[in-house]
């Protein structure tokens, strides 16, 4: 969920370089290490060859476990992957090269077609929904979507149950993330990135530090300078927190109260925009003084005047973006091998070091400390216990409720 339009590879590279000169070295040596570790992937492939054949045989009758297409993984060593822009590590010299992905291709022999085609969860869903509902392959074997969308994909039986025999590293997922309400036990998804939705502001334009969410909605000196997210889950979670409710457990009435809170501030002209992925460009140009922000994004910009509130008084939203395999995928096993690969502690550490999100793989923090000590001591990458305790996930709501909340929220955003 990082920005595409304002992504400046040069600045990104400089920022990462500035963090630690040792990082570049260790990254290179790490890549050597990765190719040696190819054994792990090969081992997983061997396991799966003699393991459970397809999930359909073991499935309970009537359970929604997705609809399998013909899996061509073994004959056709390719994989079609849809992800969000600027959401993967990038080579210092060539922005089209992704070192972790290259290492995976070398080890597994699977050629990955990596496309940054997802910009908005709802846009993406309505884009692929017609194909999935007609039983047509969507053109991707693997995609990354946000946690709160998983129940929707599951309810419509649009995603396939994972064959865990292909994902021995599945056990590495941290317990909290493993038991997430949207997919308990992670039978259908593995985490790609984990982070917080919080607040960021421009110190040059905001003279008094911001410490709570409520200030963003009410402080007169921020009038017309605030941008919020157009995704319901993000903005409503913060509004629920600001009105004293818990986004992981709220009632319809509490939602309405929080929605009124947003509407009132919007009608008063407090907000400059409800934006999607492009919120960073206005923020960088100084057009917005305060913005809701995904935890890793602002750090990536490497601008000292742009600061993220590590933990607003009321708390903040925690979320995960997850890899899932849509129905009729043609290379399901290859997709599972890739999921397994990114659950290696060392790979997860390199990825999160680059994209500045929170590692959720056992052992990844230890790897990150070896790799890039500065990153490992940044609270938005390795959060403190207090941050973990005060961050809340978004409640898993029913499909009808989600649609209702989304459409009422979108009516308020008025765009």
């Amino acid at each position: 969920m990082t920005d595409s339009s304002s992504f400046d590879p040069a600045r990104f590279v400089n920022a990462t370089r500035a963090r630690s000169t040792a990082a570049a070295m260790s990254r290179r040596s790490l890549l050597r290490g990765l190719s040696a570790g190819g054994l792990t992937v090969a081992g997983a492939a061997a396991l799966s060859a003699c393991g459970v054949k397809g999930h359909s045989t073991g499935a309970a009758g009537g359970a929604k476990i997705g609809l399998a297409g013909k899996d061509l993984s073994d004959q056709d060593k390719t994989l079609l992957w849809a992800n969000w822009p600027a959401y993967i590590d990038v080579d210092d010299k060539n922005p089209n090269v992704h070192p972790t992905l290259d290492a995976f291709e070398k080890q597994s022999g699977v050629k990955v077609t990596y496309k940054e085609v997802i910009n908005d969860n709802n846009d993406w869903y309505t884009h692929i929904d017609p194909s999935l509902s007609k039983g047509v392959f969507i053109g991707y074997d693997l995609m990354v979507v946000s946690d709160y969308m998983l129940p929707k994909y599951r309810a419509n039986n649009y995603i396939q149950e994972l064959d865990l025999a292909n994902i021995p590293n599945h056990k590495n997922i941290l317990p909290d993330v493993m038991k997430a309400p949207e997919d308990p036990g992670r039978r259908f998804s593995t985490p790609w990135a984990y982070g917080y939705t919080t607040i960021a502001y421009n110190k040059n334009l905001v003279h008094e530090p911001i410490t709570s969410i409520a200030e963003v909605f009410t402080r007169p000196d921020l009038h017309g300078k605030v941008s919020l997210f157009s995704e319901m889950e993000d903005t409503m979670a913060l509004a629920l927190l600001a009105t004293g409710h818990d986004p992981s457990n709220f009632t319809g009435a509490q939602f309405n109260q929080a929605l009124d809170y947003v509407r009132k501030a919007k009608d008063a002209g407090q907000f400059r925009a409800f934006t999607g992925n492009d919120y960073l460009s206005d923020f960088q140009q100084g057009n917005t003084a305060v913005t809701m922000a995904y935890s890793g994004d602002v750090a990536q910009l490497g601008k000292p005047e742009l600061t993220t509130v590590d933990l607003p008084k009321e708390g903040m939203l925690s979320w995960s973006d997850n890899m899932i395999i849509p129905n009729y995928a043609r290379h399901k096993k290859n997709a599972e091998l890739l999921m397994n690969y990114y659950l290696e502690p060392m790979v997860a550490a390199v990825l999160d070091d680059y994209i500045d999100y929170i590692p959720v793989v056992t052992g990844a923090v230890a790897e990150l400390k070896k790799l890039d000590h500065t990153a490992a001591s940044t609270p938005l990458i390795v959060p403190t216990a207090q941050m973990r305790a005060k961050a809340r996930g978004f409640m898993a709501v029913s499909l009808a409720q989600l649609d209702d909340y989304t459409s009422r929220f979108q009516q308020v955003t008025g765009q």
Binding site: T126, G224, A273, Q285, N287, T406, S407, Q410, T413, Q415
Partner: protein, 310 residues
């Protein structure tokens, strides 16, 4: 302007074609019309009927839509999105007026004072459109950014205090305001105003201007009594070409506006792309937009009375 003094052609005995040839002769116009008619059916009639059909359905994308003749979608659409309709209408009318005020002098100068540079000047009007209009609009975001030179000059001159007091801008910036939306629209649609104006002004015989001054008209009176009436087809054509796309435009409001400048196009986009149960109401509000635009345009043409235009 010449009056035809020719007598009607005398009737000459034309030999009657054989019956088969006559039938073919009757069919010829239809055969010639066929490609155009097919085009209209496939790209105009079918989409309109689909749209109207979708506007009276019930359901969502996951369970499918059923035709239930639910006219309530129109009621919901109109009551929920009335402010957006108001903004669309206001901004597009303002855009048309500003385009006319800016475009007419430009077209006039090119047509009558352009000399041998006419083609070059017209090319200059059109050339910016060779870049995507999305990119040009995004470029304005940078040019007008809060910390950019233009906004600081406007602030130093206290212009923005005045416009903010009038409700045209918000705070001490230009972007994310109604003024920015109208500005963006004027910028993007100006060529559509200038081109038809130029075409009709260019056809006016310059000797009519001489005749005007011979008859003791000053320049302004000549313009008002001779040039303007003769350029009316251009004015009507230009205003239509500007107003019709402007009323449905939402890119300018999206990129240059704020949450309180929403236009109906944004809502249609939102309902179609981001809401899984948005098709019926989305279709209803777009049908209303089309019908409303059609009625306004018909009234305007009736009033303007330019039969030679249509």
């Amino acid at each position: 302007m010449s009056v035809s003094l020719q007598a009607p052609p005398a009737k000459s005995p034309v030999p009657q074609p054989p019956p088969a040839a006559r039938r073919a002769g009757l069919l010829t116009p239809w055969i010639l019309l066929l490609p155009g008619l097919l085009w209209l059916v496939v790209f105009f009639l079918v989409p309109i009927l689909t749209s109207v059909g979708a506007s009276v359905q019930t359901g969502n994308a996951d369970q499918g839509y059923r035709l239930t003749w639910d006219w309530g979608n129109y009621g919901h659409g109109l009551s929920d999105y009335l402010p957006q309709y108001g903004h669309s209408l206001l901004y597009s009318v303002l855009c048309t007026v500003f385009c006319l005020l800016l475009g007419y002098p430009v077209a006039y100068c090119i047509a009558f004072r352009g000399g041998r540079f006419k083609s070059l000047l017209m090319a200059l009007v059109v050339v910016p459109s060779f870049t995507s209009f999305l990119i040009r609009t995004i470029a304005w975001k940078t040019i007008l950014s809060d910390n950019g030179p233009i906004v600081s000059v406007l602030n130093d001159l206290h212009v923005l205090n005045a416009t903010t007091a009038m409700g045209w801008t918000v705070g001490n910036h230009v972007l994310a305001s109604p003024a920015a939306v109208v500005f963006g629209m004027v910028y993007n649609f100006l060529p559509f105003m200038i081109l038809p104006l130029y075409t009709s002004l260019e056809k006016i015989d310059p000797r009519l201007h001489e005749a005007g001054s011979d008859l003791y008209c000053d320049t302004f009176a000549t313009w008002r009594r001779v040039t303007l009436p003769l350029s009316m087809p251009g004015v009507v054509g230009g205003t239509l070409l500007t107003f019709i796309p402007a009323v449905g435009d939402y890119i300018n409001a999206q990129l240059l506006g704020n949450p309180n400048t929403g236009v109906v196009g944004q809502k249609i986009e939102d309902l179609f792309l981001r809401q899984t149960d948005g098709y019926p109401v989305g279709s209803a509000i777009s049908v209303v937009l089309m019908a409303g635009t059609l009625i306004l345009v018909l009234l305007y043409i009736r009033k303007a009375g330019t039969e030679d235009l249509i």
